[in-house]
C-alpha cells in the first residue's frame, strides 16, 4: 500500500499529495496505537525510503482537521519533562480509515488505467 502511495505521490503534484495526506495519517494510526506529530513524519520518511517528506506546515493542519472531525483523539503525556501530544484513532476514525483507503486504492487503479494501462501496480 505504501509503495503504491509513494509512486502516486512522487509524481510531483503537490495537490495530489495534499489530498492523500489525511489517508496516510489515518493508515499509520491504524497500524500504531498512538503516535505524535514528529513520529508520523519520521515513519512516513522511513516507509517511503525518504521519497515522501511531510513538512510540519502540512502535517499539523491535517492532524487538527482530523481531530475536529472527530476522527482522532488526543492524549497528552509528560516525556523528558515536556508535554507530548499523542494522536489516536477514534471509533469513527477507524471506520473512516477503511473507506478512505478503499477510495484511494480505487483512485490509484483508475489513474493507472488511464495513464498506463499496461503497467499493473501490486
Amino acid at each position: 500500500m505504501y509503495k503504491k502511495i509513494c509512486i502516486y505521490l512522487s509524481m510531483g503534484n503537490s495537490n495530489l499529495y495534499k489530498g492523500s495526506l489525511t489517508t496516510i495519517i489515518l493508515k499509520l494510526l491504524e497500524e500504531h496505537d498512538k503516535m505524535y506529530g514528529y513520529e508520523i513524519t519520521q515513519k512516513v520518511k522511513e516507509l517511503t525510503q525518504g521519497e515522501l517528506k511531510i513538512t510540519e506546515g502540512a502535517l499539523y493542519p491535517s492532524l487538527h482537521k482530523l481531530e475536529a472531525d472527530g476522527l482522532l483523539d488526543v492524549e497528552v503525556a509528560k516525556v523528558d519533562n515536556r508535554l507530548r501530544k499523542y494522536y489516536k484513532l477514534t471509533e469513527q476514525g477507524t471506520k473512516e480509515t477503511v473507506s478512505k483507503l478503499a477510495e484511494l486504492e480505487n483512485y490509484i487503479k483508475t489513474m493507472q488505467n488511464l495513464v498506463n494501462p499496461k503497467l499493473i501496480l501490486e
Binding site: G57, P61, H64, K78
Partner: protein, 238 residues
C-alpha cells in the same frame, strides 16, 4: 546521540514566544516537535544547533529572508508567517470541534433531569416575580440568561490554566454570536416600544428564557475545555 541541553530548550521556548506563539497549549506541542526535529538533524545530518533550528523554522512555512550576510537571529526572526498560519488554522479547527461537540450533546443535555429541574426553578422564579413587578422579573431573567457568561469570565480570572490557552479562549469566544443576537433583540425592543409607557416585558422575558439553554450549553463546552486544559497544565507544572 546528542540531546539538547536545558539552555537550548529554553532558547527554543523563548524563540517561540518571540515568534508570537503566546498560547501555552500551542507552544508545548510545537516545542516538543522542534526539539525532536533539531536533535534528529544534529545527529543525522551532522549540522549545528543553529542550522538545524533554521531548517525546522522553514519547515513550518516561515521565511528566512534575503540578507547579504545575515546573522542567525536575523534569519530566525525575519518572519513568523508559518506560526501565525499555524495558530489561525488551529483556532479555526478548535472552533469547529467545539461547535460539533455543542450540537452533538445539545439535545441530550436539554432533556437531562438536572437541566430540566434547573430550568423549571428559573421559570418559576421569574414568573413569580413577574406577578409583582414586570421590570424586576425582566432584570432577573436577563441575569439568569447571562449567568453562564459571567461564570466563564469568573473561571478565566481565577483559573491559572485558562490564561493564554487557545482551547479555553476559543471555548469562551466561540459562542459569542448568541450574545450579539441578545443585544440586537433588546435594542430592537427598546426602539420599537420607545413611546409605550407600560412596555410588554413579557416578550423580553420569554426571549431571555428561550436563549438561556443555548448559553447554558456553551458553558458545558467551556467547562469541558477548561477541564482538559487544567489536566494538561497540572501535568506540565508537576
Amino acid at each position: 546521540m546528542r540531546k539538547l541541553s536545558k539552555e537550548d530548550i529554553q532558547f527554543i521556548d523563548q524563540y517561540l514566544i518571540k515568534s508570537d506563539v503566546k498560547f501555552w497549549d500551542v507552544r508545548t506541542e510545537l516545542l516538543d516537535h522542534i526539539i525532536l526535529a533539531v536533535e534528529d538533524k544534529i545527529n543525522n545530518k551532522n549540522i549545528t544547533f543553529n542550522e538545524a533550528l533554521l531548517e525546522v523554522h522553514e519547515g513550518f512555512g516561515n521565511k528566512l529572508g534575503h540578507f547579504k550576510s545575515p546573522s542567525f537571529e536575523q534569519k530566525l526572526y525575519y518572519s513568523n508567517k508559518g506560526f501565525t498560519k499555524f495558530i489561525l488554522q488551529r483556532q479555526k479547527e478548535t472552533r469547529r470541534k467545539y461547535r460539533k461537540q455543542y450540537k452533538e450533546t445539545f439535545w441530550a443535555f436539554l432533556m437531562s433531569k438536572t437541566f430540566l429541574l434547573e430550568f423549571a426553578v428559573i421559570i418559576i422564579t421569574v414568573f413569580t416575580i413577574f406577578n409583582y413587578n414586570q421590570k424586576v422579573a425582566f432584570i432577573v431573567a436577563i441575569c439568569y440568561m447571562y449567568l453562564p457568561e459571567f461564570l466563564k469570565l469568573g473561571y478565566l480570572v481565577f483559573e491559572k490554566s485558562s490564561r493564554k490557552s487557545l482551547n479555553v479562549q476559543i471555548a469562551v469566544i466561540g459562542f459569542n454570536v448568541f450574545l450579539l443576537i441578545n443585544f440586537s433583540f433588546i435594542q430592537g425592543f427598546n426602539i420599537y416600544f420607545e413611546e409605550v409607557i407600560q412596555k410588554p416585558y413579557v416578550f423580553l422575558i420569554i426571549f431571555c428564557l428561550a436563549v438561556f439553554p443555548l448559553l447554558r450549553q456553551s458553558l458545558n463546552i467551556f467547562k469541558l475545555a477548561l477541564k482538559k486544559s487544567k489536566e494538561r497544565y497540572k501535568l506540565l507544572t508537576s
